[in-house]
């Protein structure tokens, strides 16, 4: 396996990419299955919310313009509305990504979650199987939603990270009665269309798929195959997402030198496909059909949601020494989601 991996990496690194554009050269693009609704542009409002929040409570010197990447044709707001208030009527269920169960350190938003709880929000994390398919995890999410008290005066919001997003989408379609309780879904670096990286490296995962690991039960072992492009796009072609749910998408992109060292083997072949990626996903694969595009953050696929850079500084650190204020971003997402839900009711 190691020899095959080495060979794959060698082949991946010897090709010169065709595409070399930068984010400012290109407008937001969605790769979508024919017939699915298109994404609408909410970048301007989210930039206002994020930058205002960063100015109020971010660490000194936080440059929101740096962290929120500008793509071409971003609308400009001349008289922005003020920062919306917090609304703890919103209940949040977080859904982690693939393999998160296997690593104790892969904790979603360890600073933002306690802060939101202190503000009155009910926030909990669904324990999905790290090594299983989305169909398998949809059942776990259904159980978590069923256990969640109804929210007669508020909103139930599912926030997924990476593969957690496709788990949520499968839940919505497979359990329509429970899905009726959900008001909104937030996708954070969601593997909505899968990833070419999964197509390339599933064989590595398969080679280790039967290895026992106490902290990492095998489940149905479907995680890698289910992250491939074809299963995801075929799933999207067969299913229509429920219309009563509001969808929000935030994507991540990082320059090569700001991608974690541990992700470099994945980043090389991905950068050939498109230079705008986060080390695991392409920018145009991260948008839920019919969602509001909140924006693109300058972070690699881990830094956007997980504290790995602090906990594994060598493996998850990057050569540029860049850090991303993920907890600030998550709070901005919560504020914008609450604002949108209030406006729609």
């Amino acid at each position: 396996v190691i020899a095959l991996l080495g060979l794959a990496l060698g082949l991946a690194s010897c090709a010169t990419p065709l595409l070399t554009y930068r984010s400012t050269d290109i407008p937001p693009v969605q790769l979508t299955v024919v017939g699915q609704p298109s994404v609408h542009d909410g970048r301007a409002r989210f930039r206002t919310v994020f930058c205002e929040l960063a100015a109020r409570q971010g660490p000194p010197g936080v440059d929101c313009e740096r962290f929120l990447v500008r793509f071409a044709a971003e609308p400009v707001v001349t008289h922005p509305a003020p920062l919306p208030p917090h609304d703890p009527r919103m209940r949040l269920l977080l859904v982690p990504g693939g393999l998160a169960e296997c690593f104790e350190d892969a904790e979603l938003y360890p600073e933002a979650v306690p802060r939101l709880r202190s503000l009155g929000y009910a926030v909990s994390t669904v324990r999905v199987s790290g090594r299983s398919s989305s169909a398998y995890n949809a059942r776990r999410i259904a159980a978590a939603v069923a256990r969640t008290p109804p929210t007669p005066d508020g909103w139930l919001v599912l926030a997924g990270y990476s593969k957690g997003v496709q788990d949520i989408l499968e839940f919505l379609v497979s359990y329509p009665t429970l899905a009726a309780r959900v008001h909104a879904v937030v996708s954070i670096a969601g593997s909505v269309n899968g990833s070419p990286v999964a197509n390339r490296y599933t064989f590595v995962y398969e080679a280790f798929a039967n290895w026992p690991a106490r902290a990492c039960p095998p489940g149905d072992r479907g995680v890698a195959v289910d992250l491939q492009r074809e299963p995801r796009l075929n799933w999207l072609a067969r299913h229509r997402l429920p219309g009563h749910v509001r969808y929000f998408s935030i994507a991540s992109v990082a320059p090569e030198e700001e991608v974690a060292r541990g992700m470099t083997p994945l980043d090389l072949p991905l950068s050939y496909v498109d230079p705008l990626n986060d080390g695991q996903l392409l920018f145009y694969d991260q948008l839920v059909p019919g969602s509001e595009l909140l924006g693109y953050v300058r972070a690699d696929h881990w830094a956007v949601a997980l504290p790995l850079q602090e906990r594994w500084p060598v493996f998850a650190g990057n050569s540029a020494g860049a850090h991303f204020p993920r907890d600030l971003m998550f709070e901005a997402i919560v504020l914008r989601t609450a604002e949108a839900l209030r406006d729609s009711t």
Partner: protein, 164 residues
């Protein structure tokens, strides 16, 4: 009707790697200089910015016919380009990935199992830089394909009551 349309441009129109594949012999053909000027207009970023800035009028109906074919059925001159594109997506026609060939809002007629040249023309009539020899190319019923597309369009317009 868009046939293998470069709607989102082509990754092969980018400097320097793509253009080196498009023009492997440099400036030696009579058309090469003009073609290089055209490639600026075929860059993906340029095309996508144009599409964002110019929503298409609703009045004409749009139809898209795209193309891709397996690597072994790509005509020889297009093969190095198809190989380079295959690292982006194996479903390409030797010049365009399949997902870059559809007009926004169009009726998708389908994907022809053909490469970028053979979907529309006899190889002998093609630019020498793009064509292969006829015997090397898979035969493709392009006349039937275009007639079927036109029949479909006529039917669609008649259903809407559009008179000539």
């Amino acid at each position: 009707l868009s046939v293998a349309g470069a709607i989102n441009g082509s990754p092969l129109a980018e400097e320097p790697t793509g253009l080196a594949l498009l023009f492997p012999r440099g400036e030696d053909s009579a058309c090469a200089e003009a073609q290089r000027t055209a490639t600026a207009d075929l860059r993906r970023a340029h095309r996508l910015r144009w599409l964002m800035a110019h929503p298409l009028p609703e009045q004409p109906r749009y139809f898209s016919l795209a193309a891709f074919t397996p690597a072994e059925e790509i005509s020889p001159p297009l093969r190095p380009r198809a190989t380079a594109l295959a690292r982006i997506d194996p479903r390409n026609d030797g010049l365009l990935p399949f997902f870059d060939q559809v007009i926004p809002g169009a009726v998708l007629l389908g994907y022809a199992n053909a490469d970028h040249g053979s979907i529309v023309t006899e190889p002998a009539g093609m630019n020498a830089a793009l064509a292969g020899t006829r015997s090397e190319l898979p035969s493709f019923p392009r006349e039937v394909l275009i007639e079927a597309a036109l029949l479909h369009i006529a039917e669609a317009l008649a259903d809407r009551g559009v008179s000539p």
